[in-house]
Each structure stands twice: as structure tokens, then as C-alpha cells.
């Protein structure tokens, strides 16, 4: 996917689509994260409110996932760069 090969009209079109996809992806990630953290952290239903332990667990869960995602993004970019560079074009 090489944007430099496209004329400005196509680039604008593609960029608009990319923006929309990024938003959808973000929303999808958000719901996944909520479900994941809820499943791992909230197992005590003797009360309606979140206990402080559960709340701390959810905070940690969210932090950890975001850091995890960031690290994977960095490694992914490295691997991609290696793949592109290696196939020598």
C-alpha cells in the first residue's frame, strides 16, 4: 500500500477511509478491553459497587493492556521494516 503511487484525490479518499477504520478499531479495542478486565477482575458479586481491590485490578488491567499493545506495536513495526527491507525492492 504505497500512498506515493496515488494521485491526491485517491490519497484523500484513502486517508478518509483509514480514519474511519481507525475509529472503528479503537471502539472495538475499547469493548474488548472492558470485557477482558471485567472477566479477570470482577468475581465477587456480594455487592453492587466495585470494591477497591477490583477497582485497582481494573486500573492495572487497563494500564497493562495499553503498555502491552504499545510494545507489540513497536516490535511489529520492527518486524515489518525487516521484512520489507529483506525482500529487497
Amino acid at each position: 500500500m504505497d500512498l506515493s503511487q496515488m494521485n491526491p484525490a485517491e490519497q484523500a479518499h484513502v486517508n478518509r477511509i483509514i480514519e474511519k477504520k481507525q475509529m472503528q478499531d479503537f471502539l472495538r479495542m475499547y469493548s474488548n478491553l472492558v470485557e477482558k478486565c471485567f472477566t479477570s477482575c470482577c468475581n465477587d458479586f456480594t455487592s453492587k459497587a466495585l470494591s477497591s481491590k477490583e477497582e485497582q485490578c481494573v486500573m492495572n488491567c487497563t494500564d497493562k493492556f495499553l503498555k502491552h499493545s504499545e510494545r507489540i506495536g513497536a516490535r511489529f513495526a520492527e518486524q515489518n521494516a525487516e521484512m520489507m527491507g529483506g525482500s529487497g525492492k
Binding site: 488491567c61 487497563t62 502491552h68
Partner: protein
């Protein structure tokens, strides 16, 4: 006059070549899909669900690096295998649904 790749004929610079846009979108979708699967798989394999703290500890970090590396290797090997199978099938199947006019 125009630098459009592949010389696809006289497309005016302001118009949108639907095919090329679609190909780019397909590639983007594939890359996004691989990334999402990677995040999900490596999270399941490397991150314990105790969530004792908000940062990645050293073990988890190292696990993530190795996980990404292995994932890509598996990706490559499976791709090669499928290609080989595809090539084999094409050669062996002969002109199953060949180019008969």
C-alpha cells in the same frame, strides 16, 4: 504525462482508480487483522491475569518480544506451505478448469 503505475490507460489525475484503492484497503485490512490477532494471542500467552501492577514486568516484556517474533515466523512458514500446496495442486490438477475457450 501521468505517473500512474502500471500504465492503466488515460486516467485523469483528479479521478479515483477504484481498483487500486480497493487493493490498498485490502492490504490495510489484512495488516490490521494480523496486528489485532497478535495483540490478542500474545496477551493470552504472556500476561498473567493477576494484574498485581500496572506496568509490564521484565518477564512479560521479554515474552512479548519473543511472542511477536515467533508469530511472524509462523506466519511466514504457513504462507510458504500454502504456496507450495497451491503450486502442487495447480501442477497436479492439470487443466481442471483450464483455459478452454
Amino acid at each position: 504525462m501521468s505517473f500512474l503505475g502500471g500504465g492503466r490507460g488515460s486516467v485523469a489525475p483528479g479521478t479515483i482508480n477504484q481498483e487500486r484503492v480497493e487493493m490498498a484497503m485490502q492490504e490495510l485490512d489484512m495488516v490490521t487483522d494480523v496486528f489485532n490477532r497478535l495483540v490478542s494471542s500474545c496477551h493470552t500467552k504472556c500476561i498473567s491475569t493477576r494484574y498485581a501492577e500496572g506496568d509490564l514486568n521484565k518477564g512479560e516484556s521479554v515474552c512479548i518480544d519473543r511472542c511477536v517474533s515467533k508469530f511472524f515466523e509462523v506466519n511466514k512458514k504457513v504462507g510458504e506451505k500454502l504456496q507450495a500446496m497451491g503450486a502442487g495442486a495447480a501442477a497436479g490438477g492439470g487443466g481442471g478448469f483450464g483455459s478452454a475457450p
